[in-house]
Amino acid sequence: MNFKLKIWRQKLGNSQGFFSDYLISNIDPDTSFLEMLDILNEQLVIQGEDPVAFEHDCREGICGSCSMTINGRPHGPNRLTTACQLKMRSFADGAEIVIEPWRAKAFPIVKDLVTDRSAFDRIQQAGGYVSVNTGAACDANTIPVEKESADLSFYAASCIGCGACVAACPNGSAMLFTAAKVAQLSLLPQGAPERSHRAIAMVERMDQENFGGCTNHGECQAACPKDISIRFISDLNREFITAQAKKIYGKRASRRS
């Protein structure tokens, strides 16, 4: 198969980026999208050109590294897959493919298709943890967990933090990511003691990182390779409101004794 690639090139974060056209030929239909980029880069290196920088790691759809917008869609045209799981047979022979980095204020471009997504790490650090005492691991099932909650928590935990939700959102909002990370812990008894702090701290951090607000377009859930639902956003909103209400009214009760 032959393709006309239009790839965003940017030397450094502060330099001017531009689209560069590349022709690539003799690509096997079963080549993955990232392998196709590898082939392109080999050719570029032979020609003495700067290869296209892109992030990748597991190449099996679980690490969330391969962040790129393909033809206007994060991770490309197929649903529930990451860019590394995309095969070239998904495109028509001779098609033009536009490849871009995630576009969001909170994800500054490092080089070409690589963005700095450490803002996600800082949201996680703000409250996406449970405090447990170290020591011998306790026996399994010591703390009973409701089956429904455990399943829902697992579902939320399938978020790989790739950032497609932010890239897809017209507001560059990180609500889906934050909602999944909050839900994953707050649904479990181990996460319950810190739930108020978690909801407030993670939402505040999210805002500080220049992510936009949620306007319920639902683009994030459509782009999410792990099918995280925007119902988690509704849950986060409720969690956040409850936490704020506790902050406002809870103090009075505690001072009376």
């Binding site: 576009r103 507001n171 936009g212 607000g213 949620c214 306007t215 319920n216 782009a223 509704s234």
Partner: protein, 243 residues
Amino acid sequence: MALSDFYRTTVGKKVVMALSGAILVGFVFAHMAGNLKFFSGINPATGSYKFDEYGCFLRQFGSEIFGYSGFLWLARIVLLLALVAHAISGISLARLNRLAKPVVSQGARYSSANAASRSMIYGGLFLLLFIIYHILHLTTGTLHFRGFVEGSVYANVYNGFLSFPVAFFYIFSMICLALHLYHGAWSMFQTVGLTSSLWDSRLKLYARIFAYVIFLGFCSLPIGVWVGAVAKPNADVKVVICQ
């Protein structure tokens, strides 16, 4: 203070949008339902237009407690506060959202965002202008220009809509309102965390039906005037003396 910390976050602003929006949604529905009295003709017992009597009723409502038109003014103050809160938080959110997305992907394709969800800020700003015009048109009569008489609600509405540009502008504004509600009436539940797997799709459907009902209800007035479904205002019909 905790409350200002709350408002400072995007979620806090959205909650303000949802709660003020809920007040406005309630008002819009009551306003639309009241407007349908336009079609109820003359009250045979009093010889006045029922629509005029309804206008008087709104002024007299709760007068035992709040005095004449006291409740009406209370409602107006609440609505104004809700509108101001809705507009301020909406504009500030739209600003933040724009800043968060300085570059849009080439050929970005939307799969679930629709015209309604994408036009909330524009439709909202337009509705703000419409509300100002609408009050000057049919409440104060400042921009009526067709023999506005305070208290003659039926005649004022009828004569107002006889002007084609006015009727057209009104219907266009109602399209904006319906679009705003199409997304907003569902969105407010999502924002305060009142959606669940059971509710979600049904709630969206109800919100959409609600938007259509509001649109058809309001538009029935100018259309009713233009197709002649309602009688021309008669000068012999008794004027309601409201106090």
